[in-house]
């Protein structure tokens, strides 16, 4: 139980740090907006093609945004060497990861939910009536991105060229998320919307596999 209560305390700390400045959220939202707008210049977004390409562009924008947004989650701890303090404070280092994954999932989900109406308006698509499916897809997708991303941010924070390294490590690893989430979102946006449970299951499997891997190997990532 102490794992979960430790993680909850740390999660509160992460969320409080972010909401004091809100700089991570605001920058990420603007970044996603820029990417979506720039992508839409590459083809005519008024055509029916937007139904086919839109979800892919949206998830690609989320993936790019995440690979930048996840950078500070361990770098921030390096400035005052607070990571050592965190490691001393909790018995199981997995609590640190759980808290960071929770916070990153929350921030990513917030960004996605704020971008959804903008995207729907810009690309002329309708999500009404499909909100539970959209929420589930966004949650599972964000959880997967955050889990793999937090693990790799812990690696890239200890290397040179870290700003470039994280996207390089993370983006190929996240291809399954991109594929599955895009497929499900296309299904939800089509004229006869349907929830593709196969894709949802695929996302859930990815999340479970990477959470387990992090639970097994996370402590080595934080070794001094």
């Amino acid at each position: 139980m102490s794992l979960l209560s430790n993680a909850a305390t740390l999660l509160r700390k992460e969320v409080r740090t972010e909401f004091r400045s809100r700089e991570l959220l605001s920058t990420t939202i603007v970044f996603v907006l820029i990417v979506v707008v720039l992508f839409s210049f590459t083809f005519d977004p008024t055509s029916t093609e937007s139904h086919r390409f839109g979800p892919g562009l949206l998830w690609l924008a989320f993936l790019f945004a995440a690979s930048l947004m996840l950078q500070p989650c361990f770098l921030r701890e390096q400035v005052n060497d607070t990571l050592s303090a965190l490691r001393l404070a909790v018995a199981d280092p997995f609590a640190i990861f759980l808290a960071k994954i929770g916070a990153n999932t929350l921030f990513l989900l917030l960004t996605e939910l704020l971008m959804l109406p903008v995207f729907a308006a810009l690309f002329n698509v309708n999500f009404r009536g499909q909100l539970p499916g959209v929420l589930l897809t966004f949650f599972l997708g964000s959880l997967g991105i955050s889990t793999a991303g937090t693990a790799l941010a812990a690696i890239s924070a200890q290397a040179r060229m870290r700003e470039l390294l994280l996207p390089l490590l993370l983006l190929p690893l996240l291809t399954p998320i991109l594929v599955a989430a895009t497929e499900v979102t296309v299904g939800l946006m089509s004229p006869e919307p349907a929830v593709q449970w196969k894709g949802i299951g695929f996302l859930a499997v990815f999340d479970v596999v990477f959470l387990t891997a992090l639970w097994l190997f996370g402590e080595y990532l934080l070794e001094e």
Binding site: A151, L152, Q158, A159, L169, P172, F210, A213, L221
Partner: protein, 225 residues
């Protein structure tokens, strides 16, 4: 040294023999003709690459568990050799695809997932160049290697997702799959030859990495004294 030379000689002879078998022993395929003979190299390189990545994964796990630098040397050797074989697959594939399908590349699931696999191991090798301290480099790259390898089956799971233009598994596939008897012998001989060749390359690369480790150690001692 002598052992590696003998292994190298055997590997080269086996690859030459496999090439001879592929061109002159194996029967001509009915629809694709001559160009189908690239199959013996394309698929055996793919298998050798996957074997190398599997050994890389095992040595990554062993490094995290045992912290013996030997496993780090083995890990990087296997990753490099695996990446080299996968590069051959990604080059020989389009050469075969152009006459067989009429295009060099298609965004089909298996091609894409092989490409992603290749990118993951390129990222692994790049990561190693960006961490100075040997112990940290060994540990962090081993952990990334583990994450990358467990990602591979999930990426390959996407095969069932998209419709695929790549042929369904011919070897160990369904009841109607399988190779003609004349092809089977050549194919498994080519697989054996590529694996011996792969092992030779890994042994060479391992020896090089060991020397680098020894030099680093000697330099450290020289600086300390």
């Amino acid at each position: 040294m002598a052992k590696r030379t003998i292994l190298g000689a055997i590997a080269v002879l086996l690859v030459i023999a496999a090439a001879y078998a592929a061109f002159f022993v194996a029967p001509e395929e009915r629809t694709m003709g001559m160009v189908q003979r690239i199959f013996y190299f394309h698929v055996s390189c793919a298998w050798a690459g996957l074997t190398a990545f599997s050994i890389c994964f095992l040595s990554n796990l062993l490094y995290v568990w045992r912290r013996n630098e030997k496993y780090d040397w083995l890990g990087v050797s296997c990753a490099e050799v695996g990446a080299a074989f996968t590069t051959i697959v990604l080059i020989s594939g389009p050469i075969w695809a152009k006459p067989a399908w009429g295009i060099y590349w298609t965004w089909d699931a298996r091609l894409t997932s092989t490409f992603v696999l290749w990118l993951l191991y390129i990222a692994y090798l790049l990561l190693r160049t960006l961490i100075e301290e040997p112990d940290r480099r060994a540990l962090l790259s081993a952990l990334f290697g583990i994450f990358a390898f467990i990602d591979v089956p999930i990426v390959f799971g996407a095969i069932r997702w998209w419709r695929t233009q790549h042929p369904a598994p011919v070897i160990m596939g369904g009841p109607n799959s399988g190779l003609a008897p004349g092809m089977r012998g050549t194919f498994f001989f080519a697989v054996l030859a590529m694996h011996v060749f792969m092992w030779f390359l890994i042994a060479e690369r391992y020896a090089l990495e060991k020397m680098r480790g020894d030099v680093a150690l000697l330099r450290q001692e020289a600086e300390a004294s």
